[in-house]
């Protein structure tokens, strides 16, 4: 069943879509007939799914770029935050920024699916990130006033299992996650629903503290990294009667990690309800200040290298030298990360 604007009952298609039948798995079967007899030469287009490390390096080398590492235990809300961010831009400019493009729209779209009515779910969910190689989602954003060029943002989507099983438990494993070294922002999400439950809050805080400490002590994050600790699912944080106890608990936690702020560019705390059920909080509550912080604050601001054409025969030796030098610099910088 297609998910269409209800006004579509009035449309006048002059090119009818092929009849589709939905299988139980939800896959559509086209009414289109046989394959062409001869293969038609084709040109591949960019994949649209998550970027791998090489593709991410190319983005970093050629543009004003931010790398945002989302960290946290499973179900902390990392992927939900990314999906919600994309959904917000589907609705219009957000936080003073315009959507200027993305090389990973398919990646975002798939992550959004289980929270949409098109999934036929009654309760929203988010596709879990598999513990595989680190991948990146890409957004290009530009200020609404068009005063600045577009800024490219790369979000890592590292599985919670990786943080739970590797980063929390092993410094060696932490160091293997080279993506964090290039992070402009390290965003540590903690499920506020667990914080609101006395039975689980101590474990939640302990896990978060270990992850943060492991990343700091292994040098994965440091003076050039802005760290945001985000209490996610704030809509489920605590009932009114336990709110005071939770506030006191969080104050104690923030004081205990606050001393690590000296080892970082900044350390701040945020509340987030990316996708609250209907109630007082809107979808994307808390996302705007985070996004602004990610775009506008960095210790690594670097203008993109100007495009320099490949030398041609007859070019002066200096031209060739400068080109080689620039390629070397780009290669070295890109290799320092990831």
């Amino acid at each position: 069943m297609s998910e269409q604007d209800p006004s579509s009952k009035f449309d006048f298609p002059d090119e009818t879509e092929e009849e589709e039948t939905e299988t139980e798995s939800g896959e559509a079967e086209s009414g289109e007939s046989a394959e062409p007899e001869e293969a038609i030469p084709e040109i591949a287009l960019f994949r649209g799914t998550d970027l791998d490390a090489d593709e991410a390096r190319a983005v970093m080398a050629g543009s004003l770029c931010r790398v945002i590492v989302l960290a946290g235990m499973p179900d902390a809300g990392k992927t939900t935050l990314l999906a919600t961010l994309y959904e917000l831009f589907l609705r219009g400019p957000f936080a003073g920024y315009l959507f200027a493009g993305s090389r990973t729209q398919l990646g975002f779209d798939e992550r959004c699916h289980k929270a949409r009515t098109a999934s036929k779910r009654t309760v929203p969910d988010t596709e879990r990130t598999l513990p595989t190689e680190v991948s990146y989602l890409h957004l290009a954003l530009r200020d609404e006033a068009l005063q600045q060029p577009a800024r490219h943002i790369l979000f890592t989507d590292i599985s919670g299992e990786t943080f739970r099983d590797q980063v929390r438990n092993s410094s060696l494993e932490t160091q293997a996650l080279g993506a964090m070294r290039r992070a402009d922002h390290f965003v540590l999400l903690i499920d506020a629903e667990q914080l609101g439950n006395p039975a689980s809050r101590h474990r939640a805080i302990t896990d978060a503290r270990l992850i943060l400490r492991s990343c700091i002590e292994t040098g994965m994050i440091g003076m050039s990294t802005h760290v945001e600790i985000v209490y996610s699912r704030w809509d489920r944080a605590a009932a009114d009667e336990t709110a005071a106890a939770m506030a006191q608990f969080l104050a104690s936690f923030e004081a205990s990690v606050g001393e690590w702020g000296a080892a970082l560019a900044t350390l701040t705390f945020h509340r987030l309800a990316a996708r609250p059920p209907s109630g007082p909080l809107p979808v994307g509550h808390g996302v705007e200040p985070l996004l602004r912080c990610w775009i506008e604050v960095s210790e690594r601001e670097r203008a993109p290298r100007p495009y320099r054409a490949t030398p041609q025969a007859g070019d002066r030796e200096m031209t060739r030298f400068l080109w080689r030098e620039e390629m070397d610099i780009l290669s070295q910088e890109a290799q320092e990360v990831l």
């Binding site: 269409q4 006048f12 002059d14 896959e27 960019f46 493009g101 309760v123 530009r142 068009l146 209907s278």
Partner: protein, 292 residues
């Protein structure tokens, strides 16, 4: 000669537009419209779709000629000339670009040869709706009242992605193929404009300008075009090639009374309204100007 290429997802009005365009070019009923420099040798397809259009019937989906349809157009006053191509790619092929991530070499060659783009969109849009906003009575995960998962969850399929995401992706593909540094003239045709106006009227009581419609109804596309203003030079046109709802006999009767057939065509742009479907093509010609 300048060349322009038309693109658009399924059911975005390309064929109906083509029928109306052919009528205006062949009949020369509309003063000031671009004119065709010589008839096509084979006009069977064009006449077939025009015959349906002129009879107030839905324009049929018929097989386009191999190689598509092209018009060599000229401005009788200014003298500018250009060729607009409607490739023999069904709308489904543009959707396949989104799902399968490839296009044909032939289309690639046409893109590289093009000086501008005619993009078709339609008021019927596949949109994203969040479950949490769909019904305030939905059970929360903590509630025992409702099931956590229905029995027939639909798996993700790229075919069902929001329309505006697919359209933006199409433009990103074109941007990748376009010569770096050269602006892309883009005429956006919002088809079934009478329908778009009707629904806008339900919401706000006022008929929107075409650019405002895109901002309101396809905000991702609007943002993308605005943010990439140095790359895309664009203008929007609301076009009702049919002129009204063919299912409403009263509207059909109204259109049948027009003394001039082309009067049923409505073309709305920021600075006025006409019956001339060549307006977006004229703008593309002017935008390209003296480019080589």
């Amino acid at each position: 000669m300048k060349q322009f290429i038309s693109v658009g997802l399924p059911s975005t009005g390309k064929t109906t537009f083509l029928a109306a365009l052919w009528h205006v070019l062949e009949s020369r009923e509309v003063d000031g419209s671009l004119q065709q420099r010589g008839l096509q040798a084979d006009r069977e397809y064009l006449n077939k779709i025009r015959n349906a259009w002129i009879a107030f019937e839905q324009v049929p989906r018929t097989e386009t000629p191999i190689g598509g349809v092209a018009f060599d157009l000229a401005d009788p006053i200014g003298g500018a000339a250009g060729r607009v191509e409607f490739p023999d790619l069904p709308g489904e092929s543009f959707r396949t670009q989104w799902t399968d991530r490839h296009w044909t070499e032939e289309f690639d060659e046409r893109v590289h040869a093009a000086n501008g783009i005619l993009l078709f969109v339609a008021p019927a849009l596949r949109e994203s709706r969040l479950i949490v906003e769909a019904d305030s009575r939905l059970p929360t995960p903590a509630s025992p009242a409702g099931p956590a998962m229905p029995s027939a969850e639909v798996a993700w399929n790229a075919k069902h992605s929001p329309t505006q995401a697919q359209v933006v992706e199409l433009l990103q593909f074109l941007d990748d193929a376009w010569e770096p540094g050269r602006p892309i003239p883009l005429a956006v045709v919002i088809s079934a404009w009478d329908l778009a106006e009707r629904f806008a009227a339900y919401d706000s009581g006022a008929a929107p300008a075409p650019e405002d419609w895109i901002e309101a109804r396809m905000p991702l596309l609007w943002q993308y075009l605005r943010a990439n203003t140095e790359r895309f030079r664009w203008r929007a046109y609301g076009i009702s090639a049919q002129g009204g709802d063919l299912a409403e006999q009263a509207e059909v009767s109204r259109m049948q009374e027009y003394a001039v057939t082309s009067q049923r065509i409505r073309v709305v742009e920021v600075d006025g309204e006409s019956h001339d479907p060549t307006r977006p093509l004229r703008w593309l010609l002017e935008s390209v100007g003296s480019e080589p």
